[in-house]
């Protein structure tokens, strides 16, 4: 018995050693490059071929041995945690938060865009800029908008809505026993809409000079209208796939759906020409349609042991190699290239709904400001959810939010 235990122990120790030897660093694929080893993180893109594409780009780089890590799961939380340690990535795609920038966790990449800064879509460059310095190189422009089913609207005698009031009415009219009028995500829209309705009312989340952008009676008026969608029973809730996936729309569970431009190829494949796209409609006299844009940027970790090599690699991939950028944006998923010159040339963006989407983005695109911190976001999103689903008084809810956001803005301004 004693012997068998000892054997077991030895075997266990041996296994431990073996595991240690086999530890997978995700490096040394043997393909391409000499020079320093760099690790590059991407979040998991849904579209087939993206992973192979970014690995191909990395392998083509000769100045460093770049290994790509493809990371499923809560990606932003993974990068946030990895930035606390020395074992994080050298380069990663992400949206550095203001606290990460102020905390010196990410590298200043301003010089990488020397001479081409004006060619980057300002809507996605601005949220990567703080104090005049650039902290992430925009990769693509991601756009969210409304998809509507032309045939269903025609059957119900409804015009594509141009104002928020028309959208509320249209959603109610399009709702039948089998089909809901509008899908804004399974939470009723609080998560994905975010500041979009505020911009549609002519307001903003944070003004350019760093004050609360929605301390205005119009904000409560607009957000209150969203509750009507819920109260009327026009919203699809509890669908099997959430808003980012066009399944609910193409399966006919809803007549109108909020989703991303990335869904366009799938929608076109399933529905042919029987769909159109719209910006979030304006509300009130000073309102304007609003289209949220966002993008991950290529970011260099300040803890990288090869920071210069990492910066050069980022410059090579996301500034110099425009052919890769175009391939990345348009060959797999469907995104607008962040370089204006590339977006102008792209054939796929010149006709039909894609062309509409590009026009809306240029005219009405807005990006979440950097000063809009996660804490502000949570406070606002909670209030919006209570307004939409619970019918809470928008004025009272917003008063609390304004107070909390003001405190957050004071906090980030005070920091060095």
């Amino acid at each position: 018995m004693a012997i068998s235990r000892r054997t077991l122990l030895t075997a266990g120790a041996g296994m431990g050693l073996l595991t240690a030897c086999g530890s997978n660093t995700g490096r040394g694929d043997g393909n391409g490059g000499s020079g320093p080893r760099l690790s590059h993180w991407y979040h998991q893109y849904g579209e087939a071929g993206t992973e192979q594409a970014v690995k191909r780009y990395a392998a083509a780089y000769t100045e460093a041995d770049v290994s790509v890590q493809w990371r499923p799961g809560n990606y932003d939380q993974q990068t946030a945690a990895a930035l606390l340690t020395d074992s994080g990535p050298d380069v990663f795609e992400g949206s550095p938060t203001l606290d990460q920038i102020q905390g010196g966790q990410v590298a200043d990449l301003t010089d990488l865009l020397d001479g081409v800064k004006d060619d980057i879509n300002p809507a996605v460059l601005q949220p990567k800029t703080y104090d005049g310095r650039i902290w992430g190189i925009p990769q693509v422009v991601d756009v969210q908008l409304l998809y509507y089913r032309k045939s269903l609207l025609a059957d119900a005698g409804v015009e594509p809505p141009a104002t928020l009031d028309e959208l509320v009415d249209a959603a109610a009219e399009l709702t039948t026993k089998k089909v809901k009028g509008l899908f804004l995500g399974n939470d009723g829209g609080a998560g994905v809409l975010g500041g979009t309705p505020l911009y549609a009312a002519g307001l903003s989340l944070v003004t350019d000079d760093g004050t609360v952008g929605f301390d205005d009676p119009a904000a409560a008026r607009t957000l209150g209208k969203l509750h009507r969608l819920h109260a009327d029973g026009s919203l699809l809730l509890g669908a099997p796939a959430d808003w980012s996936d066009p399944s609910a729309f193409v399966q006919g569970l809803t007549a109108v759906q909020w989703s991303g431009l990335w869904a366009l190829p799938q929608v076109r494949k399933e529905l042919g020409d029987d769909f159109g796209v719209l910006p979030f409609p304006k509300d009130g006299d000073s309102g304007r349609p609003s289209v949220p844009v966002g993008a991950y940027g290529a970011v260099v970790s300040a803890r990288s042991k090869h920071r210069e090599a990492a910066e050069e690699y980022v410059k090579w991939l996301w500034v110099d190699r425009t052919d890769y950028q175009e391939d990345f944006a348009l060959s797999y998923g469907f995104h607008i290239p962040s370089r204006l010159s590339l977006a102008k040339k792209a054939e796929k963006l010149k006709e039909g709904a894609a062309a509409d989407a590009v026009r809306f983005t240029t005219d009405h695109g807005y990006a979440q400001p950097l000063r809009w911190t996660p804490a502000s976001q949570t406070a606002y999103q909670d209030a919006l959810s209570r307004i939409i689903k619970g019918g809470a008084d928008p004025e009272r809810e917003l008063r609390t939010v304004v107070r909390e956001v003001r405190a957050e803005l004071d906090r980030v301004e005070k920091k060095p």
Partner: protein, 312 residues
């Protein structure tokens, strides 16, 4: 001579025993210290610092984080959510598992079969069960199971997890937990029931006690006292740890709705989300740990933990 050698042998055997004790216990003790006590103390330390995006902060802020978390409506709400959840799930699981145990205990044939059937859900993961509840049983579209049944009676589909008036999401959260844990506590009650001396029931019958409610109240429940105390304690601790089914039922890529948010979910988003506010998160964790400690000690006192069935 012989005695001295004997003593030497004892000593060396003791040493060898001690060696083996540490070989087997050492790794676990070291693991517990490294992965439980060090993080615990570290977290307590962090709660006095302004620790955003760092675990080695330098900015000492005293009790500011505690003030922040104790004046945060979301945190206080989460404690309220937790209290409500506990107040419901503990008695409900207690009653259901006791009822199941009483029924299974009376079954003459195929008792092992019923015992296994009711116990089986305990082997299922909370995550998997939550996803089944969310995607197929209580899906909000018309072809979800619950909505299909409603449809037979001509009712409109209900978006179970997104309806706050009335709060249907509680139905989903509570039923998944009941299904998962009732079987486990049923087994504990069964063991308790089988330890009750049949003589007591015979004596009661001779004295004219009516079978059913009177016997249950005067014989069975008092005899199950020790089991009940253990079950209630375990249920409360389990309720404190509520995270899995809440997170998997209600969260989405954009966050978590402002209702049914228990403390662990709140702390998860504060400290580990993109906020990475580890100082306030740690302060919340310390407050929560204190609440748990007070409740558990109070409960143990109140239920007079450690008394046996016979004393009851």
């Amino acid at each position: 001579m012989t005695g001295a050698r004997q003593a030497g042998g004892d000593r060396s055997r003791d040493r060898r025993r001690a060696l083996w004790f540490w070989v087997f216990v050492g790794p676990f003790a070291a693991g517990t210290a490294l992965f439980t006590y060090v993080p615990l103390l570290w977290s307590a330390g962090l709660s006095f610092f302004d620790a955003r995006n760092t675990v080695t902060p330098t900015d000492f802020v005293g009790l500011d984080n505690y003030t922040a978390v104790l004046t945060d409506d979301a945190f206080l709400d989460s404690l309220g959510t937790f209290a409500l959840f506990t107040a419901f799930i503990v008695p409900a699981t207690y009653a259901l598992s006791l009822a199941l145990a009483l029924m299974v205990n009376r079954v003459r044939r195929a008792q092992a079969f019923f015992r296994s059937v009711f116990f089986l859900p305990a082997a299922c993961s909370y995550v998997v069960a939550a996803l089944i509840w969310k995607m197929s049983l209580f899906s909000g579209v018309r072809f979800g199971l619950a909505n299909t049944v409603l449809g037979w009676f001509g009712a409109d589909p209900v978006p179970w997890l997104a309806t706050t008036h009335p709060p249907w999401y509680w139905l989903v959260i509570v039923t998944v937990r009941l299904w998962l844990q009732a079987g486990f506590y049923m087994v504990l009650f069964l063991a308790g029931l089988q330890r009750i001396d049949p003589v007591l029931y015979e004596a009661a019958a001779v004295d004219g006690a009516r079978p059913g409610w009177q016997v249950l109240r005067t014989i069975t429940l008092p005899q199950l006292r020790a089991t009940s105390v253990a079950v209630v304690l375990l249920l409360v601790i389990n309720a404190f740890q509520a995270f899995d089914e809440f997170y998997n039922l209600l969260s989405d890529a954009r966050g978590y709705p402002p209702y049914a948010r228990p403390p662990l979910v709140y702390l998860y988003y504060t400290a580990l989300g993109q906020g990475q506010n580890l100082g306030v998160g740690s302060a919340g964790a310390v407050v929560l740990a204190l609440v748990i400690a007070v409740v558990t000690v109070g409960q143990a006192r109140w239920l007079r933990l450690g008394r046996s069935d016979a004393d009851g």
